[in-house]
């Protein structure tokens, strides 16, 4: 029998250290929903999502009860809508997002991802119409998330798409100004986007994926933090080992939940995403882990090294615990969703430039960052270009989820509520990037020899 002590340790992780499964995400292919009439296409999309995911939430809740582990979110990701709706004759693809939103509500999931386009090498007509529809789609729906992939290591960076996304983000913020630009919190611009990510807002069901799949995202910053408190002053060898052990345990639990969900729903298991996903709750912060490692405040010198080690140790510990690992796997650093990051950014120690450096070694990128409402589209595009360059050159996924908060200035804060948290408005450089963004075209793919 498992020892008394181990049982109580697990209960402490769940009760006091926010141990949970962050999401069970069902990926659904919508490739067979294409139709030239947009209303028929939307009807097919709604019908298919509801048919495939009708038992998702109930199954998630049953597993939660039996294993005694909270499963915080049940979500859906679908084929990038630009591919499915590319055949529609309509210019405005908002009805597709409305159908996705309605299906999400019917299934009881809090987010549905995949109002997306993959344009790293260029746009199809469908891609152009979808991207043009993003602001209205995010303003007229509640649960739909959107993402656009503008760069890959193999294709380089589509700078026309980068320029376009700066304008789309500004327009989305304007259309959702009453909610602090909330629409932008549901819009991710990627480089090297992955096809099996279960986490929002960037989840979509890639075209290489099966008809339907279950992906699980684990979490557990609080558990890692708590484990590190017990090795104060120990060397980095001990710190890395402690993180690996903890990540292993968390991921084993994720694997168990994924297998259970897969079996009960009769849907193949895809991947476990080994992520440390923070929440705004106290004790569930990645920034506080970095501080526990020895930094006075997250963002000070040493932060990038600490994050690099944390990210690597999480992967090393988790990878053996799961049959298939995928998604974004690593440590997330969303500013508004992490209590320690909010404090560090509000205090001025954590800056946009430092966050950019951190994204070279963390799992994704500049995430949930509020900037002043008067930040220009070109500046936002330039931030996206920088982030995409990091991803493309380093062969990793990077992303930008940035909110130019309407009417807000540096020092203000934007409240999004729930898991999205609240974001302190951070300063951006005032010097212009207009001519840089105005060039357009593509930045060629980088070479992969002569590495320096």
């Amino acid at each position: 029998m498992i020892s008394h002590k181990e049982i109580l340790r697990t209960l402490a992780m769940i009760d006091n250290q926010h141990l949970d499964i962050r999401t069970i995400t069902m990926g659904i292919s919508l490739l067979d929903c294409a139709h030239e009439d947009i209303d028929e296409c939307a009807r097919r999309i709604y019908e298919k999502i509801v048919r495939k995911a009708e038992n998702l939430v109930a199954t998630g809740c049953a597993i939660e009860n039996e294993l005694g582990i909270p499963i915080v979110n049940k979500r859906i990701s679908v084929t990038p809508a630009a591919i499915v709706a590319g055949s529609c004759r309509a210019d405005d693809l908002t009805p597709i997002a409305v159908a996705m939103d309605k299906a999400a509500k019917e299934c009881g999931v809090n987010f549905i991802g995949g109002f997306s386009a993959l344009v790293h090498k260029g746009f199809t007509e469908g891609d152009r119409r979808l991207i043009a529809s993003i602001p209205a789609a995010l303003a007229s729906t509640e649960r739909v998330c959107s993402s656009v992939n503008v760069a890959t290591t193999k294709a380089g960076i589509n700078m026309d798409a980068v320029a376009l996304m700066g304008r789309v983000i500004k327009e989305t913020a304007a259309l959702t100004a009453a909610d602090g630009g909330l629409g932008c919190a549901k819009l991710v611009v990627f480089a090297n986007a992955v096809e099996d990510n279960p986490f929002m807002a960037g989840a979509f069901h890639g075209v290489g994926e099966p008809e339907c799949v279950i992906n699980v995202g684990v979490s557990g910053p609080g558990v890692v933090h708590s484990a590190l408190k017990k090795v104060k002053g120990a060397s980095f060898d001990v710190v890395a080992e402690t993180i690996k052990r903890t990540a292993f345990q968390i991921t084993r639990m994720g694997q168990l939940v994924a297998q259970e969900a897969s079996r009960r729903l009769d849907v193949p298991f895809g991947v476990v995403d080994l992520s440390l996903a923070p929440t705004p709750a106290k004790g569930d912060s990645v920034a506080r882990i970095l501080e526990e490692i020895g930094l006075e405040t997250c963002g000070t010198h040493g932060t990038t090294a600490a994050l690099a080690m944390l990210n690597d140790a999480v992967k090393k510990g988790g990878v053996m615990a799961s049959g298939h690992v995928g998604g974004l796997s690593g440590a997330f650093i969303p500013v508004s969703e992490d209590e320690g990051m909010i404090a560090a950014a509000s205090g001025g120690t954590l800056t946009l430039d430092k966050l950019e450096a951190m994204t070279c070694v963390c799992s994704v990128g500049l995430d949930m960052i509020a900037v002043p409402g008067d930040t220009t589209a070109e500046t936002i595009s330039a931030i996206i270009a920088d982030e995409a360059a990091i991803g493309v050159v380093n062969t990793k996924t990077t992303a930008v989820r940035i909110i130019p908060a309407p009417g807000k200035v540096v020092g203000d804060s934007v409240e999004f509520g729930g898991l999205l948290g609240s974001a302190p408005v951070m300063p951006v450089h005032q010097e212009s990037s207009v001519d840089f963004i105005g060039r357009g075209g593509r930045i060629p793919a980088p070479m992969h020899s002569l590495k320096n």
Binding site: I2, H4, E6, L67, Q249, R252
Partner: protein
């Protein structure tokens, strides 16, 4: 299928008897019990067999939870699998 019942709270007379009686009434067989009292704080873990009872897991789960609420204790049941996953390779 096997489950782990945990009972945590302030120590008093009859906790084990009450929980065991409830489990017996639902046809749940107790395979192992481990308990400690530290500074008046009672913790008990039980390995139980829930494979041979007709009572659904959901009923056992909610009955134990209600018992906990009525007696001021934290009582829960979880499938053993979660602990095996975390501690056994």
């Amino acid at each position: 299928m096997r489950g782990i019942v945990t009972v945590v709270g302030n120590d008093r007379v009859g906790i084990i008897a009450e929980v065991c009686t409830l489990l017996a009434s639902m046809g749940v067989n107790i395979l192992d019990i481990n308990q400690t009292v530290m500074q008046g704080f009672f913790t008990m873990t039980m390995l139980v067999d829930i494979g041979n009872t007709e009572t659904p897991f959901e009923t056992i789960h909610s009955s134990l939870k209600k018992k906990g609420e009525d007696t001021g204790l934290a009582i829960r049941i979880q499938r053993e699998d979660i602990f095996n996953a975390m501690y056994k390779v």
